[in-house]
Each structure stands twice: as structure tokens, then as C-alpha cells.
């Protein structure tokens, strides 16, 4: 019986193909909006988010500036291993970095970062070529360069040359062991702090070492700050408060992108509401014309409920077709939209948002249901006897 009702509904849709297509259009746009916008926003979010993580560190990364006295490096070094011990229970990682700005590479000036500890725990650089700095003990200093350095100066893994570190009068032989993406547009390079002791000595007093601490979710900023401050005071026996600041932008970005996504979702929702109103409008406008046909069906033995089902099913057929076509469009349009929205940021965007697609279909059918319900119930109450007086 349901199957026959379906046939009648299908005949109804097919016999008003033009109108059905027009109705489908707004629903189509609604679903496409949900899928593409959700996909695009998701992709953009991933892209911007991972860029933010590369430059600022993963969520909940703090930076502790150790004052740049003569003994700063030694103290920072000790504090680092102390922190790593005491932070182990909260699964936090501490890493020390020293910025050696304007290091002269063959080709131009590079921002050099000397690293102790695994910086990639905090800033998860994808390695493009070669490898990340380990703890080699070659006479030649291993360095890792970012893509800008590689591209601007034509440097790549395996090359050996000498550089002149910023603020020093040294010449250091280096070999490029890896190329990474670090989210920076400027030329950058990374080298192990342990193997650069001679220039670190010269940098002392000029540059202050930084300790980056990252805690996995579960530790709040206040908790972590308090913990570090306590250890700092205990360690240095000083009155001066340390400079501790949060450097990751994860929260900011998540919030902004969340808002953007919300706005886009509202737009998608609105177009579905428009679609529902379209079905409602057409349903009510054509009720007069349809009521004769529906009265006929009732004279053939259709119940009130079956007449209601016919109208609702017609709406569902239109909605489902619209949604399916929209998803096919979305599948093809998604890579385009993704590459457009995430221009210049290199993150893989392979995943089509199937969740959004399912939500789109359900929302579309729901919109059509709401839109067809009023005409359907009205149609169920059309006096059939009026067909005698047509």
C-alpha cells in the first residue's frame, strides 16, 4: 500500500516537473550551502588552525623568559631539566630555544633558532625532506631549514656551506639535513643548541633564552603558570616574578573560526527555511487545483491519511532528489572550494564532510516535511463532495 502511495506521489511530482524542479532548487541551494560551507569552513579551520599551531605551538603553550644576564644560559639549562622532571606528572614538555637573529646564510639573512629538547612536541613541523635535528656529534653542524629558506636561497638537504651566526664573529660549517614547514613566510633555520655552545657563549647577555612549556589538555593555564612560577622561585631564590605568557593562538582561532562557521551554518539554515517556505507556498497556492485530484483519489478509496501521505511524500521525493544532486555537486565542488578557502596554506584536504552531508539530507527532508505538512493537512480536509459540482 505504501508502495502504491509512493507511485501516486511520484506521478504527482513527475506530472508537475517544472514546478517540482523550482521547489527543489531552493532546497538544493540549502543542502549545497550546508555541505560546501561546512566543508570549506572545516577545511579552512583545519588549514588556519594547523598554521597557527606550527607558528604559535599547540593549544596551551606557555613561554617563560629567563632574564638575559651573563649566567642566563646556564641557569636556563638547569631550570629546563628541572622543569622537565617536575612537569612529568602533568605530562608537560619543556623546550629551550635561543633566537640567533640575522644569521648570514649564503644568499641572505636567516632567523636562526637554537633548540634544546624536542621542539616538534610543541610546534609539530611536518618534515618535507630529510629529517629533523637529532643529537648528532659531527664536526659539521646539522641544520634544518624551512621552506622559505630552501626556496629563497636555493638550499636543500645534503648541502654543506658555512654560515655566520648573528651577533658573533664566527664562521660555522653546516650541513642541511632537513627541510620543514614551520608556518613562517620568512627564512628560518633550526640547529641543536647543544652543538653551538661557542656561539651561545657569545650571545650571552645579548639574547635571552626562552623556555616553552606545553601541557596536554587537562591542565589549565592558571595551574600550569602557578606550577612554573613556584618552581622558578624555588630554583632561583629571587623576588622578581618571571615573565610567563601564553603564546599559542589555538583558542583565539578556534573561537573566530567557530563564529564564522556558525554564521555560515545560519546562512545554510536560512536557505533551508526559504526552501521549506517555497514548498509551503507552492503547496498552498496549488491546493485548489490539487484538491480536485485529491478528492478523486479519495473517491477511489484513499483515506484522509493517505491523501496527507501523498502530499508529504511528494515533498520528500523532491527534497531527497534535491539533496542527492546537491551532494553530488558538493563532492565535485568540494576540492575547488577547499583549495579556494585555504589558499596558500598547505594542508591536505581530502576528507569530504560526510557528516555535513547526512545533516544536509536530514535537514532538507525535515524542511520539506514542515513545508508540506500544512498543505497536506488542509488537503486531507477538503470536502470531497465538491467534486460533484466541478
Amino acid at each position: 500500500m505504501i508502495f502504491q502511495i509512493l507511485i501516486i506521489a511520484w506521478l504527482g511530482v513527475r506530472s508537475r516537473l517544472g514546478r517540482s524542479i523550482l521547489t527543489a532548487l531552493s532546497l538544493f541551494i540549502g543542502v549545497l550551502a550546508i555541505v560546501v560551507i561546512q566543508a570549506g569552513a572545516g577545511a579552512a579551520q583545519d588549514a588556519v588552525m594547523s598554521n597557527a599551531i606550527l607558528t604559535g605551538g599547540r593549544a596551551m603553550t606557555l613561554s617563560l623568559n629567563v632574564s638575559n644576564g651573563r649566567r642566563a644560559f646556564g641557569q636556563a639549562d638547569q631550570l629546563l631539566s628541572h622543569l622537565n622532571n617536575v612537569l612529568a606528572p602533568v605530562k608537560a614538555t619543556a623546550v629551550m630555544t635561543v633566537d640567533a637573529d640575522s644569521t648570514l646564510f649564503p644568499g641572505g639573512s636567516v632567523e636562526m633558532t637554537l633548540v634544546k629538547g624536542d621542539l616538534r612536541e610543541i610546534r609539530p613541523f611536518p618534515v618535507r625532506r630529510g629529517e629533523w635535528i637529532g643529537s648528532g656529534s659531527d664536526i659539521v653542524l646539522p641544520v634544518v631549514i624551512n621552506k622559505a629558506t630552501s626556496a629563497n636561497f636555493g638550499l636543500t638537504t645534503g648541502m654543506t656551506f658555512s654560515i655566520s651566526p648573528g651577533h658573533t664573529h664566527e664562521q660555522v660549517n653546516v650541513r642541511v639535513i632537513g627541510v620543514i614547514t614551520d608556518g613562517m613566510k620568512e627564512p628560518n633555520a633550526y640547529a641543536p643548541l647543544d652543538l653551538t655552545q661557542s656561539w651561545v657563549k657569545q650571545l650571552a647577555g645579548l639574547v635571552s633564552p626562552k623556555i616553552l612549556i606545553h601541557a596536554d589538555s587537562g591542565t589549565s593555564q592558571a595551574q600550569l603558570t602557578g606550577l612554573i612560577r613556584n618552581e622558578y622561585f624555588r630554583f632561583f631564590d629571587t623576588e622578581r616574578s618571571p615573565e610567563i605568557s601564553r603564546i599559542d593562538q589555538a583558542d583565539d582561532f578556534a573561537q573566530t573560526l567557530g563564529t564564522i562557521k556558525l554564521i555560515f551554518s545560519i546562512i545554510a539554515g536560512l536557505s533551508l527555511v526559504v526552501g521549506a517556505m517555497g514548498i509551503l507556498n507552492i503547496g498552498l497556492a496549488t491546493l485548489r487545483e490539487r484538491s480536485d485530484e485529491l478528492s478523486l483519489h479519495r473517491s477511489f478509496g484513499a483515506t484522509r491519511l493517505q491523501v496527507i501521505a501523498i502530499i508529504v511524500l511528494e515533498g520528500q521525493i523532491v527534497a531527497l532528489s534535491a539533496a542527492c544532486i546537491a551532494i553530488v555537486f558538493g563532492l565535485f565542488g568540494f576540492p575547488l572550494a577547499a583549495s579556494f578557502l585555504s589558499q596558500g596554506i598547505e594542508v591536505s584536504l581530502q576528507n569530504f564532510p560526510y557528516e555535513a552531508a547526512v545533516i544536509g539530507v536530514v535537514a532538507c527532508c525535515f524542511a520539506a516535511f514542515i513545508g508540506s505538512l500544512v498543505p497536506a493537512i488542509r488537503a486531507g480536509h477538503v470536502p470531497i463532495a465538491s467534486i460533484m459540482r466541478l
Binding site: 500500500m1 502504491q4 507511485i7 501516486i8 506521478l11 506530472s15 508537475r16 480536485d292 485530484e293 478528492s295 478523486l296 483519489h297 479519495r298 473517491s299 477511489f300 478509496g301 484513499a302 483515506t303 484522509r304 491519511l305 493517505q306 470536502p383 470531497i384 463532495a385 467534486i387 460533484m388 459540482r389 466541478l390
Partner: protein, 225 residues
């Protein structure tokens, strides 16, 4: 068998007044009987036919269809009985303009269980009986008035109803076409052995039918007198 007993029906006019169409009307129609209802325009013939066909409900009185009381039945039971018992033919054909002749005739069958193949066979048989098999794919606006009414007759008969209710079946046709349609209808009704109730303005039609009643002032009286 259809049995109307002391039924009344009034219509609420837009002005707020009520118009009493049928007053204490009783009517018994035996299986296989043919009945013509005459009457001036506006006396309530169509209304009566609608009541007989369960398209409308009584204000008072009782109505039995094949022994079953219909007053107070739920929508589902009424729809069931209506679809099983009656086939309708209207003055203006009332075909679904967007569907082909075939689909129009198939429509009543879609409201009862049955396989597609059986359905199609029944549709072709019905179209064959009215001589329109080669017009099966045509839409109503591609058919003449007489042809449209023949499609409507096929549609009224396709599901083997016990009773055919025809409201001025020739009212929209010229005389000769009308005569042809009536002859076809009478033949098919006789062949199938079904009851026929036909409403008409034309005394000429009535001449071919054994029992004729006239509706006036809300009551039926013998029209042969």
C-alpha cells in the same frame, strides 16, 4: 443494496442561512437495478448522489450499504467501503489533466492491493471495453469530449464496483455523442451486472431506464407519472 432512510441534508450558505436540500428522504436501490434521478437544477441531485457515494455525510437518518450502516463509520472504514463499492462518472469527466488516459484509468487500482501486471491487464481491458486502447498514452486534452467521458467510464468500471454513480454523464456532450456514451454505459452496466444510478436533466435518457425518480422540494417522487 443501498438503503437511505429518513435522511436529511442541509447546506450552510455563505450568508449564514441554511438551505434544506433533502427532507426525510427514503430510497432503496436493489442490486443490479438501474435508476434515473431527474429534477430541476439546484434541487440537490448531485448532493444526493454524493451522499449515496459516501462522498458526503448525512445530517440525520440512516444509510446502509450492502447491509452495513455507514452513519458513524470512521474515515478509514468509509474510504474502504467507498472504494470497494462505487465507481463515479461526472458531468465534466474529472480526469487528471496531467496524466495519460492509461494512468487515469489505473488510478483507482492504486488504492487497493494488487500486482502491477494484474493492474495493467485490468486497465487495458477497461480501455478496450470503451474502445480507446490505442489512445492509452494520450492526455485528456488530446482527446475529444466523448473520448474523455469514455476514459471516465473505463475508470469507473476498472475496479469492479457494485454501483456506478453517474452525475449527468452526457451533460457536457452534444446529443449524438451523448446518446452513444449512454448506450455504451448501459451496455457495460448490463454486462457487468452492476447497479446504476444516473442523474440527468434529460427525460429522453430516463425513457431507457426502468425506474425513474424525480427530486423536488427535498423529496423523491415517481418520475414516470
Amino acid at each position: 443494496m443501498l438503503e437511505l432512510q429518513s435522511c436529511c441534508k442541509s447546506i450552510r450558505l455563505p450568508s449564514g442561512d441554511t438551505l434544506q436540500l433533502l427532507r426525510d428522504l427514503s430510497l432503496k436501490i436493489l442490486p443490479g437495478e438501474s435508476l434515473a434521478i431527474l429534477g430541476r437544477s439546484g434541487t440537490g441531485k448531485s448532493t444526493l448522489l454524493g451522499l449515496l457515494g459516501l462522498l458526503d455525510t448525512l445530517d440525520c437518518g440512516s444509510y446502509r450499504v450492502d447491509g452495513q450502516e455507514t452513519v458513524g463509520l470512521c474515515d478509514r472504514a468509509l474510504a474502504n467501503l467507498r472504494g470497494r463499492t462505487f465507481g463515479f462518472i461526472y458531468q465534466r469527466f474529472c480526469l487528471m489533466s496531467r496524466l495519460s488516459a492509461f494512468q487515469n484509468v489505473e488510478a483507482p487500482l492504486l488504492h487497493r492491493p494488487g500486482r502491477r501486471a494484474d493492474r495493467h491487464k485490468a486497465v487495458y481491458e477497461a480501455l478496450d471495453k470503451v474502445g480507446l486502447i490505442e489512445r492509452a498514452k494520450h492526455k485528456p486534452d488530446q482527446l475529444s469530449g466523448g473520448e474523455q467521458q469514455r476514459v471516465a467510464i473505463a475508470r469507473a468500471l476498472v475496479h469492479n464496483p457494485h454501483v456506478i454513480l453517474a452525475d449527468e454523464p452526457t451533460g457536457s456532450l452534444d446529443r449524438s455523442t451523448g446518446t452513444m456514451i449512454l448506450r455504451l454505459l448501459f451496455n457495460l452496466v448490463k454486462e457487468a451486472g452492476v447497479t446504476l444510478v444516473v442523474v440527468t436533466h434529460e427525460p429522453l435518457i430516463a425513457a431507457q431506464i426502468e425506474r425513474v425518480l424525480e427530486l423536488s422540494n427535498g423529496a423523491l417522487k415517481d418520475g414516470n407519472l
